[in-house]
Every structure is written in structure tokens, then in C-alpha cells.
């Protein structure tokens, strides 16, 4: 592999607290040097990053790639390509596939498919319980050996407090977090959207904010009991933000993520029974969205994760109650974060890179998230200003279930480099 020199950009690396004009040289798949006016040797490929940001590749702790089992909606290859197009160099795939990623074989399958795809890195997340049935712990040791970086029953909440407790305790042996989809199913059962004035008007069963907050509180209390690391997925309510703030003030090992849709949209998006606004946790109220933004600004919420959830066109083309939850998010995450968080001044560009790369990499102990010499050559070059319209045909995911179609976002990845190799280069954007 020839050397790759990314020249003339604004290099932001929160892992080293640096932000300024510099060149980045990649050699043998790793970061070789970062500095001013790095000389170019014969045979070096060059990317011109003038006017753009060069940062460690984005890291997404929460995606659903649907393979094995639901390849009509997404495959590991198409999902990893969508990730690369969104500026992500690493994504963590949730285990709610068919079969569930709960064994050496299924974890290994994800790893092999990801290597074959050769796009963004895909790290499997193993199931907490066999078949995600919420009964018996999976073999964490074996899953990790096969490549799993965390465990979660995401898609399903861990209902049993005993199971959550044992998972947190056992995970300590391996130094991995337990990621939980926080939902009290007895309160949320049958719910299709946030419980509030919109659900009341539309005649849809609501999911109260309390359904999330009860489980956030439980998980925090169990983190204290066990000393384990709990990672709270896709936080959506102001109450959750308050609870996490309290947990952090006590020094507990609690980390949390929020999605672009929860810091951008509110329950009103469900008007007209718009199934592309149906997700779980549901879109909440303006005060919740504002609290999530504030939580990201002050660090109560550690990172941004897309909860990329592809669904086939037919699946969303039906009655709201019957439609599945979730939206695709890998290709809109950066543009939404820049528009919703950086533009209004809630986050600096460097903070944004931290919340989308450096911090998530640290939470799951992944390589990457840094441009330190010797680190993996995972780099994104993005234009932080460019306005672009979300168009169906321009998406790389196999699915296009997003409420943001037709919207203008701000900022877009132009080049994504994984292991020193360019895996994505935006067409029509000359960079070399």
C-alpha cells in the first residue's frame, strides 16, 4: 500500500487536544506523522483537504446492519458502505439479527463479512442473553475472543434486574460495557409513539417518558451495586439526562449516547401517521430534545450514535401501529450534528469530533478515535459548511427510511480512510 498524505486541512484531534492546519501522513495502514508541511515522497498519494476538516474517523457505537437474517433491508457490506459515506470508519453492530449474535459462530460471521466488505470497520456487539430471551447469559469470554467489543440485548430491554446485575458483574471480568436499551416494557407495551398530546390526538398508544427513566434509574443503581460499566443507549428524555447527571456526580461508571433524531426532532413529526418518524425510544417533546442537546453540550451525554435501523420500503408503508421502529442514520448523522449542535454554538467542531469519534472509541475501548502516531489510519475529511439535500438515490444504505429526505443538512464527509486505504470518496468532489 502506498503512503497517503492528506494535505492542507484543519486537523482536529481531540485525543491530543490539537486543532489547527496540518498534514497527516499514513503509512502501512497507520498514522505515520501529523505536522506542518510534511514532505511528499515519490509514489505517495495525496488528498487535498484545503478548506476542510481532517479528523479521526467517526465511530458509531450503535447500528443495526440486519445481516444475517434481514438482508433485504441491509447487509454488512451495504451498511459498512453507508457508514463510510457518512464519515464513519468504525461501527458497532447490534446483535438483534436472525440468528442472534450470541455465539462464537455468529460473532465470527459478522467479523468475516465486514472484512470481505472492506469498507468501514464493523465491530460486533454480542447479545447479553442467549437468543436475547432475557434468561441465560451468553458466553461473554468466547464472544469477545471472536471479536465482540461489548454486550447488549438492544432491540429488547433487559427486563430482569437480576440478569442486568449479573451481566454487569460478569462483564467486569472482561472490561467491557453492558449497553442497555432502557425501557420498562410493562409501561411501554403496545406503544407506538411518545405519550403526550400528539398521541392523544392521533389515538395512538403512547410510551411515557417514565418507561425509559425507570430503567435508566435501575441501571444506574445496578452500576453502583456492581461497579460495572453500563452504557445507556439512545437517551431521549429530560428525566434521563437528569438521572445521568446525578450518576456522574457520584462517579459511577455510566456512559450514555444520544441519536441525531432525538436531538433534532420532536413528537410532532409523527403527525399524519408518518411511519418514518416511528422509532423506539420515540421522538419526545421539545423540552426533552433541548435537554438532550444540553446534555451533549455539557458532557452528561458522552457521545452521538446513529441507531441506524434500516427497514425495507414495504415495512414502513403501512398502518402506523404495524410499522417497525427506526430510521437509517449513518449518512445523515454528521450533517445533522453540524446543523443542530455546531451551528447554534452548542458544540465546537472539536467537541463534535470528540462526541462522534474520540469518546465513543474510548467507551468501547476501540482502536481509532485518534490521530496519534501509530494509531490505525482511520481518518475522515469533511466539509463542515457545505449545504446538501438528503436525496433517496444518493444514499448508500439499502434502505431509505428517513424523515430527513428532502431536508438540507450542513456538512458532509468527502473522504473516508480506513487502515490507510481510501474506502469512500465523494463523487464530483475533487480532492487530489
Amino acid at each position: 500500500m502506498s503512503d497517503l498524505l492528506i494535505r492542507g486541512g484543519r486537523v482536529i484531534d481531540p485525543s491530543r487536544g490539537s486543532d489547527g492546519p496540518a498534514d497527516v501522513l499514513l503509512r502501512d495502514g497507520k498514522i505515520e506523522a501529523v505536522g506542518r508541511n510534511i514532505p511528499m515522497e515519490q509514489g505517495t498519494s495525496v488528498i487535498d483537504a484545503t478548506g476542510k476538516v481532517v479528523a479521526p474517523g467517526l465511530v458509531d457505537l450503535h447500528v443495526h446492519l440486519r445481516e444475517p437474517g434481514f438482508e433485504h433491508a441491509e447487509t454488512i457490506a451495504s451498511g459498512a458502505a453507508a457508514a463510510a459515506a457518512g464519515g464513519f470508519t468504525a461501527v458497532c453492530a447490534m446483535p438483534n439479527t436472525d440468528p442472534v449474535t450470541d455465539s462464537l459462530a455468529t460473532v465470527g460471521f459478522v467479523v468475516r463479512q465486514a472484512i470481505r466488505a472492506g469498507q468501514a470497520r464493523v465491530y460486533p456487539i454480542g447479545a447479553v442473553s442467549l437468543g436475547q430471551r432475557g434468561e441465560q447469559l451468553t458466553e461473554f469470554g468466547e464472544l469477545i475472543q471472536a471479536g465482540a467489543v461489548a454486550v447488549s440485548d438492544d432491540g429488547k430491554p433487559i427486563r430482569s434486574s437480576h440478569l442486568m446485575r449479573t451481566a454487569l458483574e460478569y462483564a467486569k471480568n472482561f472490561g467491557i460495557p453492558v449497553a442497555d436499551h432502557c425501557e420498562d416494557t410493562s409501561l411501554a407495551q403496545g406503544g407506538a409513539m411518545h405519550e403526550g398530546i400528539v398521541s392523544a390526538r392521533l389515538g395512538l398508544k403512547g410510551i411515557p417518558a417514565a418507561a425509559e427513566e425507570i430503567m435508566v434509574a435501575r441501571n444506574i443503581i445496578l452500576a453502583e451495586l456492581t461497579g460495572g460499566h453500563v452504557h445507556l443507549c439512545h437517551m431521549s428524555t429530560r428525566g434521563s439526562v437528569e438521572l445521568i447527571r446525578w450518576a456522574k456526580s457520584k462517579g459511577l461508571r455510566v456512559t450514555a449516547e444520544a441519536t441525531p433524531h432525538h436531538f433534532t426532532l420532536t413528537q410532532e413529526r409523527c403527525e399524519g401517521y408518518n411511519t418514518n418518524a416511528k422509532m423506539n425510544p420515540p421522538l419526545r417533546e421539545a423540552a426533552d430534545r433541548d435537554a438532550i442537546r444540553q446534555g451533549l453540550a455539557d458532557g452528561t451525554i458522552d457521545c452521538i450514535a446513529s441507531d441506524h435501523a434500516p427497514h425495507h420500503y414495504d415495512a414502513k408503508e403501512r398502518e402506523f401501529d404495524e410499522a417497525p421502529n427506526g430510521i437509517v442514520g449513518l449518512e445523515t448523522a454528521l450533517g445533522l450534528a453540524l446543523r443542530e449542535l455546531v451551528e447554534p454554538g452548542l458544540l465546537s467542531l472539536a467537541d463534535l469530533v470528540a462526541r462522534m469519534s474520540t469518546i465513543p472509541a474510548r467507551i468501547f475501548h476501540l482502536p481509532g478515535g485518534t490521530l496519534a502516531v501509530g494509531a490505525p489510519g482511520d481518518v475522515v475529511v469533511f466539509d463542515p459548511e457545505r449545504r446538501w439535500e438528503v436525496r433517496r438515490e444518493a444514499l448508500h444504505s439499502k434502505s431509505m427510511n428517513t424523515p430527513f429526505l428532502g431536508e438540507t443538512l450542513r456538512g458532509q464527509a468527502d473522504v473516508t480512510v480506513v487502515g490507510g486505504r481510501v474506502v469512500f470518496q465523494r463523487p464530483g468532489r475533487p480532492t487530489s
Binding site: 403526550g196 398530546i197 392523544a200 390526538r201 392521533l202 389515538g203 395512538l204 398508544k205 399524519g272 401517521y273 414495504d314 408503508e317 403501512r318 398502518e319 402506523f320 401501529d321 404495524e322
Partner: protein, 331 residues
Amino acid sequence: MTASPPLSAPTLGKDLVGLEELSAEQIRLILDTAEPFKEVSERAIKKVPALRGKTIVNLFFEASTRTRISFEFAEKRLSADTVNVAASGSSVSKGETLVDTARNLEAMRIDMVVIRHPASGAAQFLGSRIRSNVINAGDGKHEHPTQGLLDLLTLRDCFGKLEGLKVAICGDVLHSRVARSNMWGLLKLGAEVALCGPATLIPREFESLGVKLIPRIDDAIAWADALNVLRLQLERMEAGFIPSLREYNRVFGVTRERLERAPKELVILHPGPMNRGVEIDSDVADGPHSVILPQVTNGVAVRMAVLYLLAGGGPDWRGGREQVAAGGEGE
């Protein structure tokens, strides 16, 4: 200039999904159009040719007697050709999706679909995907606009006007499409609305729409000019919203004793089917202030008005009456 309606004359859109989307003028238009249609049902030959040649499909995904028959009478009295499709025994029970069912019907060149469906939003979903007019005959817990309209018409018949009228909607508002349609219709036409029932079944968010919440039935009776008593479904007890039907009747039942204590006489509505002895006692349902059967009669007139207006009908439908009279038999 040829004779044409004044520019300000309200019309309905393509579909009737709910009363929330309608303006006060549009609701009044339907009620006013229903008035003369009442008389058609009183004739020996109950038929006008207003919708002759129109094909209407009644697509019922949920059991219904009253609403389905009422629509069918309305359609037949307007001379439309009608087909009834029930979910069981049709392609729906073979797993066909709603949109495929509708597109297949439309491929047979129909003009209107009347849909009853257990999912909230089903009527709007259908309306946005086919060219035919869609009329919501009840979608999940969302709306039942023609029931709301017939309740408004019945109240207007009783009181002469709706402005300033106090109507308490009593019972399981949470799961009731009738309650929602009534709420919107009454609020838009200037009535005052209160909701009364167990707090487990009253979405308190509705207060933000200007609706009053009254926890006790005696207070609601003392406040109201009319009560719209909702059906309490047995499943609500099983789902834990109320402890028992017996307790419900004791705490929230509309009984003669309670009505006799009221400072004035109330008009009692019920969308049916009734659970006698649960939400309403028999002597109230059958009593002098019950307008439950006039509601049913008005249902046909209101549905005729809706079908007629959505089909593009103007104020000249009575032209057809003379034709029928002249032709004698009708069809």
C-alpha cells in the same frame, strides 16, 4: 356569468378522515346538507338519484352493525352501487396489506371507499394512496367523524344551536374515536366540552385543547346540558384500567337517581352498542331524555350528506327528486 356557488362557499376535500381537519364552515355545510336528506328517509320511496352510477366499497376490517348498515342505507338511498367487503373471508385474511387491497379495488374503477379499520390512521393512509374518495367509518382510537357529525346534528335538533352548549363526554375517552370526533366538532362549533371518567381512561393532555376535566360524574351532570355516554369495553377491565364493571357502574354509571338530582334536565346520547347496567342504566337509555334512537336516524342523513358532498354535489340535489317523482319507480 353562469350561476356558480359564491367563492366563499366551503367544500370538503377528497376524503373525510376526521373532524379535526375540518373547519367550522365545513362541518356546518355537512349538517346543513343533512337536513333535507332526513326527509328522504321518511318517504315511501326512499331514493334519490344523486349518486347514480357511482360505485362505493364498504371496507370493514372490524365488526360493525350500526355503522355499516347506516352507510349502506345512505348509499342505496342515494342510488349508488355498493359492495361490502369484510376482513374475514377476504384476501385480507390471506395477509394482503391494506394498500394492496385498496389498489386492487381501485383497479376495478370504484369511486369511493368507506373504511372501518382497527388501526388509527388507516383512513388517512388509504386516502393518501388512492384516488378514490375515502370516508373514515372509524379508525382505531383516532376518529369516527360521521358519528361525531350525527351527534352534532342530534344536539342541534334538541337545542337549536351548538354555540355555548355544555356537553360532557363520559367514560373511556382514551380508547374512543367517538370521543375525539365529538370533541373536535363541538369545540369548532363553539360548544363547551368536559370529559368525565376514571383518570386511567381520560388523557389529561386534552386539557390543553380547552377541554374541561371533571373527575366526578355528579359534577359533570350538574354542569352539562347534554351527556354523551361512551361504551365501556369489557377488555378495559381485563387490561387493568378499571377494577370491575360493577365498580364502574357505581362510580361512573349514568343512573336515573343521579339525573334526578341534577338542577336541569339533560339530553342523553350514546353511540351504541350499549352495556345496559354498566355505563348507562336502562331507565335512562329508555327514558324521555334519551336521544339514542334519533341519533341512529340522523346517522343515515349525515352519511348521505357526506357521500353527496364528497362526490362533488352542490346545492341542487333536489333536482333529482323531481326526476325520481316523475320516473316513479326510481331504480
